[in-house]
């Protein structure tokens, strides 16, 4: 599709390529940068590094669980693996990746030259980076000077009273607390920055109702970051007070409550899921229209559904706690609110299908990942509705059914969305196309691996296998299923290897992309690939939701119909 593009004159003066510079100077440039594009790339790469580390931890767990009565790793190591896997994937893989994508694309898509607060942006990234380093330092520093290191082993939600000084000796839990506290400050800074950028930095003519869907979803995500990270920060401070100052917040012997930690954690924890999945929805809403050659179906409804998801997601947290035993009124409320959030999510699925319906679909790699993500969102949503019903949850809460459900969301939608985004925007970031052949190998391997692992993971859950167990007896009927689940991991890892190879190879050998390789419609494709430091020499004037369509088709512009 690359040849169909020079209809639009580039809106910018192409900057001159600089000659090679000493490596120290290049590194220095990256470390002191406040440019949203570089910070976006750094966020993304940091997230991918964490994704690989978290993936290795998951692989160790799957190897341990592949057969019954296995003793590949010690029970202590197993506890550390699931704690570090969860913490790493949520806070240091998924969040930096969605922040990176938001950082890179938000100013480009709304016709701005940078984020609202570039230096705060850099601060936010380095705080996130520092948080991850502190968390991983626990491997060497967990017991302080008293012996070998130890990673946190209290689960990624660190339920009280397991985190109290009596049960969690040494400093492993403190590394977890302080790492998340610091990265939380970085997240709040980034949320604040995205929100302010969207509200104050839009280019001429870019009204709120003309913003690309990804920008809409990112701004709701930023709102959720502002509202939801606070409770986590507060809970972490309380935990620190308990552990270091002898406080009694979660100390049941002094009248404190362990359940209130669960409430505080999940008041953060459930909006967090939407912080991660909304940007993925945004990616799907950008990729699907372009490869269906149709504008997004029901833009206004999509925006309304996004905002509805944002608000409802703040009132569903205790569906993580049905098994704890709440009053019947509380159960009824959280069942109802959780079922209600399925409505706007369902609207989105119908709108993506509506966008594809009757379109001229081309199955490029980003489109393949997007279509798979839509299908997987449907299944993840259906198991979500099942678990939203309190009696069903009493049976299957804390089982592998729950694990399969939320990995369907996190892997099946968020990671698939991130892969779609990587293929779709790679040409913009590097100026070169990624290989379609390698991309399709990646897609099919990852799709097969994902389904082998997580489709079959539902079954041991239904058969009663609880989560967070180190090993299990043979003759429970779980062993065959667990072996299949573990085999799927190999395909996923192979797929990711293809992707990493593709990213590296295409950077040097990929086909030159040009400004607009996909014949797309949003503003970022009007500038050069990669964009110059200042993004736009003259700020583009926007008259519709598809500004580039208007430029390419002056005889039939969108603004006549909107």
């Amino acid at each position: 599709m690359a040849e169909a593009q020079p209809i639009v004159p580039p809106l910018v003066i192409t900057p001159e390529r600089e000659g090679s510079r000493p490596i120290v100077q290049v590194l220095h440039d990256w470390i002191v940068t406040v440019d949203h594009k570089r910070l976006g790339i750094m966020y993304f790469c940091y997230g991918i590094l964490a994704l690989v580390i978290g993936g290795i931890e998951a692989s160790i767990m799957r190897a341990q669980l592949a057969v019954a009565n296995n003793h590949l790793v010690s029970p202590e190591t197993f506890n550390q693996m699931f704690t570090m896997h969860g913490t790493t994937m949520i806070f240091f893989a998924a969040m930096p990746i969605v922040f990176g994508i938001a950082n890179y694309l938000t100013p480009l898509m709304i016709g701005a030259r940078d984020m609202a607060f570039p230096r705060l942006n850099a601060w936010g990234f380095w705080m996130t980076a520092l948080g991850g380093i502190i968390l991983y330092f626990s491997f060497v520093g967990g017991f302080g000077l008293y012996g070998a290191g130890s990673a946190p082993d209290v689960g990624w939600f660190a339920y009280a009273p397991l985190t109290s000084p009596a049960f969690s000796v040494g400093h492993s839990t403190d590394y977890w607390t302080i790492g998340l506290l610091i990265s939380g400050f970085g997240s709040i800074a980034t949320g604040l920055n995205i929100m302010t950028t969207v509200l104050c930095m839009r280019g001429p003519g870019m009204k709120l109702g003309r913003m690309p869907m990804l920008v809409w979803l990112n701004s709701v995500m930023a709102f959720l970051v502002l509202v939801a990270i606070g409770p986590l920060t507060a809970a972490q401070l309380m935990l620190l007070i308990d552990r270091y100052l002898g406080g009694h917040f979660f100390d049941t012997q002094a009248g404190g409550s362990a359940v209130i930690w669960m409430h505080f954690f999940w008041i953060f924890g459930h909006p967090e899921v939407y912080i991660l999945v909304l940007p993925a929805f945004g990616i799907l809403s950008e990729v699907i229209p372009v490869f269906s050659r149709k504008p997004i179906f029901g833009y206004n409804i999509m925006v309304a559904a996004t905002i509805a998801i944002g608000f409802i997601s703040l009132s569903v947290w205790a569906h993580h706690m049905f098994t704890v035993g709440m009053t019947s009124y509380a159960n009824a409320f959280f069942v109802a609110s959780t079922a209600a959030i399925a409505v706007p999510t369902g609207i989105k699925i119908f709108n993506w299908i509506g966008t594809m319906w009757g379109g001229k679909i081309t199955f490029t790699t980003p489109m393949l990942f997007s279509v798979a993500a839509v299908a997987q969102m449907l299944i993840a949503g259906l198991t979500g509705i099942m678990l939203a019903s309190a009696p069903f949850d009493w049976q299957l809460g804390n089982s592998y059914f729950v694990i399969a459900h939320f990995h369907y969301v996190i892997l099946g939608v968020i990671v698939f969305g991130v892969f779609a985004a990587s293929y779709y925007w790679y040409p913009k970031v590097t100026g070169r196309m990624m290989s379609e052949t390698l991309g399709k190998c990646h897609f099919w391997l990852f799709l097969i691996g994902f389904h082998v692992t997580f489709d079959f993971m539902h079954v041991p859950g239904l058969l009663g296998m609880p989560r967070r167990i180190y090993t299990y007896e043979a003759s429970r009927g779980w062993e065959g299923w667990n072996l299949i689940v573990s085999i799927g991991v190999i395909f996923q890892a192979l797929g990711v290897l293809f992707w990493v190879f593709n990213v590296l190879k295409s950077y040097f050998k990929g086909k030159i992309a040009g400004n607009d390789p996909w014949d797309a419609w949003t503003l970022e494709w009007s500038t050069t690939s990669p964009p110059p430091d200042y993004n736009y020499a003259e700020l583009p004037v926007v008259r519709s939701r598809r500004p580039l369509w208007d430029l390419k088709h002056p005889e039939d512009p969108d603004w006549k119909y909107e």
Binding site: T196, A222, L226, A234
Partner: protein, 180 residues
């Protein structure tokens, strides 16, 4: 404009942190298994509260002054704001000293102590941050670096100070009246 929106976002995020501490305070009110109880030891800090609330007025007056370009008047009201904030902190310190040494209430004594010191302390921490900011800007004013064109930025900082005062309305009523 950017600064104002950014500060609003920060206020939303900070409010959610305070919200959780307030919820914890209310939830644990009366659940301590040992004394002392709030009714036995707490005295409403009337003077400190009047000082803190007045500082919102003086900071508004200093904003008005810088909008008119009257830097001297701005400096005077700014100094008053800082002084009132510092008085509040000193009063809090005296109150805590009395609670710790006379009443024997520390953060680890009972649930009341834990929730009281963390909620009031979180607020006092925010007043301290505000006082440091006020001091820095006061020093800039004394050295003649603050000019009329900085009125917008002064306004953004004033939003933070108003937020700290507004939070005190909540903390004061929760700690000293509702959950007494």
């Amino acid at each position: 404009m950017r600064g104002k929106v950014g500060m609003w976002c920060l206020i939303v995020a900070e409010s959610s942190i305070f919200c959780i501490f307030v919820v914890a305070y209310l939830y644990y009110a009366g659940k301590s298994v040992s004394g002392p109880t709030p009714a036995q030891v707490l005295h409403v800090p009337i003077f400190a509260s009047i000082c803190l609330f007045s500082s919102s007025l003086t900071i508004v007056l200093s904003e008005k002054a810088i909008h008119r370009g009257n830097i001297k008047q701005f400096g005077i009201f700014w100094f008053l704001t800082l002084a009132l904030g510092v008085i509040f902190l000193v009063e809090t310190g005296i109150e805590w000293h009395r609670l710790i040494y006379n009443e024997g209430l520390t953060i680890s004594t009972n649930l009341f102590g834990t929730t009281y010191y963390s909620l009031v302390g979180l607020h006092a921490f925010h007043v301290t941050v505000g006082a440091i900011g006020l001091t820095i800007i006061l020093l800039f004013t004394l050295f003649g670096a603050v000019k009329m064109e900085h009125a917008g930025r002064i306004g953004v900082f004033a939003m933070y100070w108003h937020f700290v005062d507004a939070i005190w309305v909540v903390v004061l009523s929760v700690v000293y009246f509702i959950a007494r």
